[in-house]
Symmetry: C2
């Protein structure tokens, strides 16, 4: 066989795709071998077991989600800019990897422990970010609230529409792929506005 790069990488790319669609339990080694156009034994030759093959694919998938998060956590930009950048780049990223959030969250539910090592390795630390938020809230640049809640809100509004696609598509988009895509597109602007262009009303 002649693949783009090495067989090893080729396998991992295919495996990741299958795992993303079927999850660990749903994926079959034979299926991965078929899609990769190789013998099943080759999977075990390069990655000793299904568990190990999955672990590699999973880690790679998870890590691909991190850079943007790291930027918002650790970067030096003002908070408004961070949020705008995150909503925009993450939405675009997820549009190209639509079932990645569901995949990661599914396996995170299956094995919550596995997260710790990955986070450690990625060197993510929210404390600096939380400090920045507090400062900018006091300066009035952003709607005041618990910084943790702000993070949850941003992640929720960005990621959830992708996880819930099979329910949003038929109910709100008339099963039209383009309408859904347009809806996501609008959110890139809508989400940052939510946190930066608003203020508390003084009347009720």
């Amino acid at each position: 066989m002649n693949f783009n790069k090495t067989t090893e990488e080729h396998i991992l790319r295919i495996a990741r795709n299958v795992f993303e669609r079927k999850g660990f339990q749903g994926a079959r080694m034979q299926e991965i071998a078929n899609e990769a156009g190789i013998n099943k034994s080759l999977l075990h030759y390069y990655y000793r077991s299904k568990e190990k093959l999955f672990h590699n694919a999973y880690r790679k998938a998870f890590e691909s989600m991190i850079p943007d998060v790291r930027e918002i956590f650790m970067g030096q930009k003002p908070i408004k800019e961070k949020i705008r950048l995150f909503a925009d780049s993450y939405s675009r990223f997820l549009m190209q990897n639509p079932n990645l959030p569901h995949f990661v969250l599914h396996e995170l539910n299956r094995d919550p422990e596995s997260l710790l090592s990955i986070i450690k390795e990625a060197g993510i630390d929210p404390t600096q970010f939380i400090g920045q938020i507090k400062k900018e809230m006091e300066a009035g640049n952003i709607m005041p609230m618990d910084p943790r809640q702000l993070m949850i809100n941003i992640l929720s509004m960005t990621i959830f529409p992708f996880i819930a696609k099979p329910i949003i598509m038929p109910v709100l988009c008339g099963n039209d792929q383009e309408v859904y895509k347009q809806l996501i597109e609008e959110r890139k602007k809508l989400i940052p506005e939510f946190f930066t262009n608003v203020m508390i009303k003084d009347d009720n």
Copy 2:
């Protein structure tokens, strides 16, 4: 054996619990039988196949999520009240069924078609709700935006923290169950404030 009610119901209750934790592919008929304290054949006696047993459990689980959604869709209350009510009751409901959203969304990804019949059966229709939103936005009761986006936002902010619990708990709550619970509790107030107590800043 002497269960609360009939054996049939007992099986379904246990099955639903196992399915919620493991998903369709991850659950084993033997496991369900064990947890129910009965012979595996009994499962097939009452529910012909794993597929059918799952379908029953799944439908029941899904339907348990609907009443609150129906209220916000079809009810007659003012929008502010609807949102407050939804965030409050749904958060409480999810707190008691923590892995239900992930379960439903997971199976929805596995088989998106299955949703249609359930929604039809539940008789949910967003058009009336969307009309109401438009009217109340014009009256200035609520931040103006695409009604579909408003719905996505409310659902995102309410449901996502439960799906993402295994990542929120360690990163934002120091793995403390109580801290997480408190975080969710605060969101019951925080979420409605987001949509009702804010307005667009005119400067900037």
